[in-house]
Symmetry: C2
Subunit: 384 residues, 2 copies
Amino acid sequence: MEYIQQKFDVNFSYNVFFSSNLFDTSNKCLSSFLESNAATAYTKKLLVILDGGVANAHPTLTQQISTYLSQVKGFQLAPEIITIKGGEQVKNDLPLLFELVDAVDKYKIDRHSYVIGIGGGSLLDLVGFVAAISHRGVKHIRIPTTVLSQNDSGVGVKNGVNYKGKKNFLGSFAPPAAVFNDSNFLTTLDDRDWRSGMAEAVKVSLIKDAEFFKKIEATAEAITAGDMAAMQEQIQRCAELHIQHIGGAGDPFESGSSRPLDFGHWSAHKLEQLTNFSLRHGEAVSIGIAVDTVYSHLIGWISEADMQRVLQVLKHMKLPIWHALLEKQNNNPSPVVIGLEEFREHLGGQLTISLLRAIGKGEEVHEIDLELLYKAVDICKNNQ
Amino acid sequence: MEYIQQKFDVNFSYNVFFSSNLFDTSNKCLSSFLESNAATAYTKKLLVILDGGVANAHPTLTQQISTYLSQVKGFQLAPEIITIKGGEQVKNDLPLLFELVDAVDKYKIDRHSYVIGIGGGSLLDLVGFVAAISHRGVKHIRIPTTVLSQNDSGVGVKNGVNYKGKKNFLGSFAPPAAVFNDSNFLTTLDDRDWRSGMAEAVKVSLIKDAEFFKKIEATAEAITAGDMAAMQEQIQRCAELHIQHIGGAGDPFESGSSRPLDFGHWSAHKLEQLTNFSLRHGEAVSIGIAVDTVYSHLIGWISEADMQRVLQVLKHMKLPIWHALLEKQNNNPSPVVIGLEEFREHLGGQLTISLLRAIGKGEEVHEIDLELLYKAVDICKNNQ
């Protein structure tokens, strides 16, 4: 049988910058990045898509962005800064997706131009997907404005929207051109968003870095009370661990079944959906971490003391560790537990769930004992 | 300024197989490929999306596919083989795109399962895009059924659909898992499709391989008259040159402005659109090659004799070398020529047009002299 073999590598690289007051004209972080990517032969374009909640919390921001980006050499800012709603709802809105694609067309954003998303993880997921499918991929810059997006989703390579109630059913892997974390955006977060973003730091510390978990234990109450310096430190280390994992584990576009960063997430995704996103992602992840941590104890992987450390740190952050939908409903299986199969399907291949072999060490299993799982749910309930 | 650097390579590889009667149970080409990619722990799924025109031309095909794929070990064929219309119209049909996404969902095609597209380049572009955006990318196999898709588009890494009249406005770069070229599908092509697919071979030979161009000159009349062996040889060499270019030129996902394989294509894309796709892609490319070849002569890059060789070979294939829409219309610019800017925008960056420095050697320019271009159009008209 005759055949021709195709084989090539594609190199991806981008930086995650940490700064404050990005759009202050004295801050050269973003403008230097852009100008170092300018072309001599033509002008590149910029289109900004901004979270309306962020715009409201920072009333002068739109004007600041406009002033700042208009002065960047080699670039032309689109005449409109597009403001859309934020939050998970933007990922359930296909007409909005096409409105943004239309804007890419209208403002002639080509493959060398940049779409800049400013907002929480949901907005960034939507904007990243719009960029990924327009002209087979225009460049995009992420400016995450929440703890959760600055320490986790915003620094990664995924994008996507929900489709017919299935989270991230449509999406792609498309690394950003750059990420800019601006701590000033964190100052206006409401208390729930401030705290719940920490869940991803707990998660990544548990599966990767026992020292970081200890640090989180030591600072959980201070961060919960509003300590910005401690929060910043946490965000940076958490982002770093995510980035190392994506780039270093040999499977950045997730072609295998392994998904260690999804620790605590199989139930979290389903809980978010079943509660119609009244649970924040971080709150759902906190519950997911609690359940899978207790389950790890029940199968003999971690001690009761370590299990309690995990539950305690979540409680110190005033994060939930249990939800009624995890229980059997009138002797029928929990609707969250039914979601295990949906989780497998989205990832594809064998069911693969990360558990804790120790604090700081995740390990995957391919089977879940449902009776033990319900027992874990009970323990979470009683430990609230 | 603090930052974290992300940097990784993603390796892509796939084979393009050449076979005949792929779905004959005695032909192990496709089944061996699939079985070598089976998993022990779970069953992978297969979803076939078939061009209705191909199904009509091969009345037993649907049954054959069903029988063949049902016997592949480790795989489960979806209960339905989805038959859709073929041709460029499928790329103008967003509701159809979502129907196919719905089928991926309904038949639980996960990231380890395969969507198999069987049809011409347009169907494959659509199916590839559906696969690329579902679950952030399910695997897809291409079985191109036309000359044009077997020697060119089907063996590459692009997919996409048209959007609001703009060709390939939505799409992505997503290499297939494998490509299977089945010569038996060529036997039922109508005369126009048979001949017009050769335009891409002329194109790639002109920019890359003078020897191959000579071979095409020598066999053009025989192929046009239906010589299958010569056609096969041409398809294989043309596919090989495309694959070498994509994998070897260092920019498979086209992040730069260079696009040498697009020789003759800036006007072709626009002509197809303006004629509402009554021109086949290959016919439009033939016209595009003719114009850009004559233009290459007018700027002194190739001799008149070489220019005539190119026009002759296209005429021997009974392909068009001129179209009225290339001319000024009542002293207004040609609507095709206006499309130059649209072409630049789709590719992004500087205007970059491939011309011929010699037969077998393409070279890029960044400016087009419009008066010379109209003169080239005139020469094409007079040489028909």
